[in-house]
Symmetry: C2
Subunit: 253 residues, 2 copies
DNA sequence: CGTAACCTTGATTAAGATCAATTCTCGTGG
DNA sequence: CCACGAGAATTGATCTTAATCAAGGTTACG
């Protein structure tokens, strides 16, 4: 009795309780689908909830389908034999991940042994994701050019992002990469909020940030310290205050 | 008179002279298009010939369209302020490159200021490419799901390749990367030729190979030397003889 | 046969990883 | 409300890999 009540409470009290279909309407990939199609997807999809640090899938696992992030944050990462990690993407809510294997072998005999290209892990408490099974989705693509074009456009952006990521990793030192990251966050934040605000807030831990920038926490910490000594920025916990935007741009080069 | 003759000669004498349409039929991306569509593409496309070392486009140039490689070899690469270079892809004949900007901003207002994501250069003499102008091609996509699916599948593979590339660069040392490259070439060559052949031939210069593996020629040379001293392989010019496939696999780890 | 591009080898350096030791922060239970 | 403990972040000392710098050697091609 007590348990049932507890389970019901959030639904009852929370005015903005959301169905999967409401979520799907905010997903770029799905924006060309009609209500009926969204409902048919919703029917076959499965919600799953994870805690911080929980694995969503390993790159060794057989492919089941792709995911939509409902709440929380997910990291997509590779890991070496000796345990070092490198983060490829951070996926926020309303975004999809794990679509690549769906389409790799299109035309060829559908491979049953297809795998995820990387690992994924929830990096926030109460990260809710929805699994969209592979089989049910492919038919939709074959009958909907608009949907295809959405996917193409999403893939194209991701390709450009990875190009950029490789450029950063291979042609720039850690200081340039850190400055480049802060600059990008600064621009992103000021695009959203219109007016200029010189403080940005990290959404991820510094451990994860280090891994995303292709370095380790110790080096990231030292780099922040150096940028502070040069009066470029000031880091307090998850808050980064940009002191000199011009010097920051120059450093990112 | 003399000039006209010279220009005609190769066509006359060369029995396997090829029209653009013959080439297009071998391009995976185009494999769902009919003769009429191929012809309409052919009419608006432009052939260009480059020598080794010629730039095809810079990443700073406005986007014109994508390319098909007819003959020769093309490298797609990024370059740093101080001139260091990193190769992202090597594109061989019958393959396309530069499609990404076509689709990045689909749905949004068509940006006129869109740019190529990286630089490209011919790395063989007599590299012939065909430029497919952007505007003329987008209509085709909006009316052809099969074409879309081909593109999606091509992009998906490229995404997985870049994932893998980043994994190699960030989580493996040079020796592992070199061993991994040789192993991949070994497998590719033996898949094509059925029977096992332990010698592979480099298609690119060692300078370019170093850049593709995220290192420099000096380090590549030393790495080959070390792998030779360990009786794993033997390098003579562009020929690599695999001496111990098991040790090679182990080294690539 | 000569020159330029390509490749190799050696000596040195530097960036950043690793190892080790605190300190800080924050959620949890008493 | 405070104390505790675990994970996160910082700092310092040292080490390692691979880049840089410098000089020859090889190969291909006009």
């Amino acid at each position: 009795m007590r348990l049932t009540l507890l389970r019901l409470l959030p639904v009852r009290l929370n005015g903005d309780y959301m169905t999967d279909i409401d979520l799907f309407k905010k997903v770029y990939l799905f924006s060309s689908l009609n209500e009926a199609e969204l409902e048919s997807i919703s029917k076959i999809s499965r919600s799953r909830t994870f805690n911080k640090g929980d694995i969503i899938f390993f790159d060794t696992e057989p492919y089941l389908g792709f995911y939509v992030v409902k709440t929380g944050l997910v990291k997509i990462y590779k890991i070496s034999n000796d345990g070092r990690e490198h983060i490829l993407h951070i996926i926020a809510s309303d975004n999809t991940f794990g679509e690549v294997p769906l389409f790799e072998n299109f035309g060829e005999s559908p491979k049953e042994d297809s795998r995820y290209p990387a690992n994924s892990m929830a990096i926030e408490e109460n990260t809710q994701v929805i699994l969209i099974p592979a089989r049910a989705f492919t038919d939709l693509f074959e009958n909907n050019v608009k949907l295809c074009l959405k996917l193409i456009s999403g893939f194209a952006r991701r390709l450009r992002y990875l190009n950029h990521h490789i450029e950063e990793l291979t042609l720039k030192d850690v200081t340039k990469r850190v400055a480049g990251f802060v600059l990008a966050e600064f621009n992103k934040s000021n695009k959203q909020n219109k007016k200029t605000k010189s403080e940005i807030t990290l959404q991820i831990s510094k451990n994860d940030l280090a891994s995303l920038l292709g370095t380790i926490p110790e080096t990231l910490s030292r780099t922040f310290k150096k940028l502070n000594e040069d009066n470029i920025l000031e880091v307090t916990g998850k808050a980064i205050l940009v002191l000199d935007i011009n010097k920051l741009k120059e450093t990112a080069s």
